[in-house]
Symmetry: C2
Subunit: 254 residues, 2 copies
DNA sequence: CTTATGAGTTTGTCCGACAAAGCTAGATTT
DNA sequence: AAATCTAGCTTTGTCGGACAAACTCATAAG
């Protein structure tokens, strides 16, 4: 195919990219720890020997990637990428790829079941307290679809947290961000929808408390099936997640 | 808590952020479709009424987010975010959060099982051809851990693709990117490791062809358990994914 | 019809500048 | 002496202009 390589490929990445890569490398391999300062733009200018505009473009790249942020006084520092922010990007990608609600439902079924299994096995007292608190608040707003939907999303986040598996936590988040905004429509559109939702959460919490995995899985399945039936009343599962629908998932980012 | 709000919060986001947000919004809600041009920097300068440096910083943000890219002639255009690129960022986040191999293993078990179930149900002839092709190539390099590990990763990507579920495809990718680089070490360190791996893939492909879900799940479990046993010979599952380990996952990005 | 050429665009980078906001430390007041 | 104020220094966000390299496109030359 290729002729014998006499020279190595020349690195032609633009300077701002190299700046970003250099800083990123230091953070990834741990030489700069989260929370530690990166230095001022002027210092970076001197260290890299490029113009401040170039440094700033590199900084934007890292900032968007969640690797660095500016503290209260706008000074640069390394930080731990927030799942939430990354998940938003992923949700965005899923929308642009026009995934269907069926795909979303199927994947969520898998991920939520895994999540509850982990929670049943490993939930701490603190986790259970948080879930119970969420449940109590939910019970008070059964008639308010908007608030209830938000609490539902939170409940599932807490369950994922209780699974003590951060990979799972991260993996379920993008789907959940697209999945749960519809909850409001569904709970609002189905009589008894709110009550059924809270009932399911109650059984889930009970299952976690009793370390009863079978019950946890069963009620997760029912809970999601409820969502599915509700959704099918207002739309087709094979419809793709709409662009306009993004408005919801979007407002939440603020 | 707060006093009655007399005025709404003033928007103080920096200009480059607003530029990025404005373009992003147009893409997300579909007014600019993937592949369509955004315009030159000069045009954006005129439209937004800000300096070119400011526009460029905004562009960097979107570029890193995968929403826009430059075509062959470096002109800006909207594009579909690539799973692969996003997954790399997630993997990076997982490393910085120091997730353990146990978390990785548990999540992967769930995701790969779901993946194979989907593949058994919905794999197309084309999917099966790709898997068979991968298997044939794997069989030829049983003795070469480096190449075999790469083909193993590809096999699982193909299986996720065969599941026809893009949400799942996306969800499994970050974990896989961290999970599979160790395959080389394991296959290289365990006698018969390569042969067992290829054998598992063969059974998986058979299961998909026969639409035999039970067999598919069984062999996925075995396959991953093999990995786990191999891993435990060289390290502890409770060790966190190391920073230095990133070198592998990192080089692959190029 | 293909190739070469050359003008015009566009990007990547650099330089210098300035207002606004934050920080620091000396000066002032109680 | 402790608290407060003030003025200067730093840093960021934005701007304007500039230029070389790479690319586009249309026209001229073979």
């Amino acid at each position: 195919m290729a002729a014998t390589p006499l020279f190595r490929r020349i690195d032609v990445a633009p300077a701002y990219q190299k700046v970003a890569d250099a800083i990123e490398r230091e953070i990834i391999n741990g030489r700069i720890k989260p929370g530690e300062p990166i230095g001022t733009e002027q210092q970076l200018v001197e260290q890299f020997g490029v113009n401040r505009s170039t440094v700033r473009e590199g900084i934007r790249v890292l900032e968007e990637g969640g690797l660095i942020r500016r503290d209260s006084s706008r000074r640069l520092q390394a930080c731990l990428p927030r799942y939430n922010k990354l998940a938003t990007r992923l949700s965005r990608a899923l929308i642009l790829h026009e995934v269907t609600f069926r795909e979303l439902f199927e994947a969520s079924m898998t991920l939520e079941v895994a999540s509850v299994e982990g929670a049943v096995e490993r939930a701490t007292d603190e986790n259970i307290r948080e879930l119970a608190d969420n449940l109590a608040r939910s019970a008070e707003v059964v008639g308010n679809p908007a608030v209830l939907a938000e609490l539902d999303a939170e409940f599932h986040v807490l369950m994922a947290k209780a699974s003590q598996n951060r990979v799972l936590q991260l993996a379920r988040e993008p789907a959940a961000q697209l999945f749960f905004p519809t909850t409001e429509m569904i709970v609002g559109g189905v009589p008894e929808g709110g009550a059924r939702l809270v009932e399911a959460h109650r059984h889930l919490l009970e299952a976690i408390k009793r370390r009863d995995k079978a019950a946890g899985v069963l009620w997760t399945r029912r809970h999601l099936q409820d969502w599915r039936r509700g959704f099918e009343k207002i739309a087709s599962l094979d419809r793709s997640v709409e662009h306009t629908y993004m408005e919801h998932a979007y407002a939440a980012r603020q």
